[in-house]
Symmetry: C2
Amino acid sequence: MTGRVAVPLPKAYRLLNHGPTVLVSSAHGGQRNVMAAAWNMALDFDPPKVAVVIDKSTLTRELVEASGEFVLSVPSRQQAAMTLAVGTHSGREFDKFSIAGVHATAASMVGAPLIEGCLGWLECRVIVEPHIQQSYDLFLAEVVAAWADPEVFSNGRWHFPDEQRRSIHYLAGGSFFATGDAFEV
Amino acid sequence: MTGRVAVPLPKAYRLLNHGPTVLVSSAHGGQRNVMAAAWNMALDFDPPKVAVVIDKSTLTRELVEASGEFVLSVPSRQQAAMTLAVGTHSGREFDKFSIAGVHATAASMVGAPLIEGCLGWLECRVIVEPHIQQSYDLFLAEVVAAWADPEVFSNGRWHFPDEQRRSIHYLAGGSFFATGDAFEV
């Protein structure tokens, strides 16, 4: 896989603060899965927390509820077709790790895998809130470890080296935006 | 203000799906306020729902809890300095509608104002969930009306006409990304 360096936990929110679409990976009882999620956000700085919507119909939902863990991986533009593929198909149809470009590697603190080739990773433990999980498909979690490819994120800053290694933002129907120009005000 | 056309409610999520930073405006009992929020996401399609983090220390929190309403406005790159300013100062310090470029106009369904010159707007009614509001500063809401500037969003699609009229994604410390290239996979 690409390089991977630990992100200090108080800076982990910066992997999500600009609103990229992420991959949600999960594992339980010999099964594993990965889906895409545009509906994610940071929820707190330190300890870092995140929120993500995981539909009741998904295999991911079953594995996340059973294990209490998931990983958010931030895919690059190079991985957009793969992101759409894992977001379109269900893990009940076939093993999504058979899709081209979907490779798992072990996380450090949770059983769910990291997705190789991504720009950043957040290892998450679910904060159990049954009412909002059931009513809104909304999952809250604490980030227990975070990683980034140092070629694209270091010292708490994104510095995309080229057009293909940028984070992506899903709209609908196969349409994405790349993360664009950085600017300061 | 710029043009404003109704967005059909089942397409309202597309104003937020790509993860832009938004402005949260609120009003109650003769007071009004506006803050910035990178931590927002769509939560459902139809009826559309959203989630947003509103810190306990903010005047916005007080006005949103009292009124049960808020508006999310999607600012443009032209409005980035204003977005940072309303995100940095508290409405307890001074009236943020005195900041250059912060102009309010009446919403259709809620008392909170729309912020003029933005790219899109979601009028929201809070879904009262006291536990998550108190524990996580997390507010859920139903979108009851949505609008967009037709020069930048129409037929459920963003089509940014120039570099300044793009949505923005806050990172930290005054650094933003513009929404970048659109692409299909």
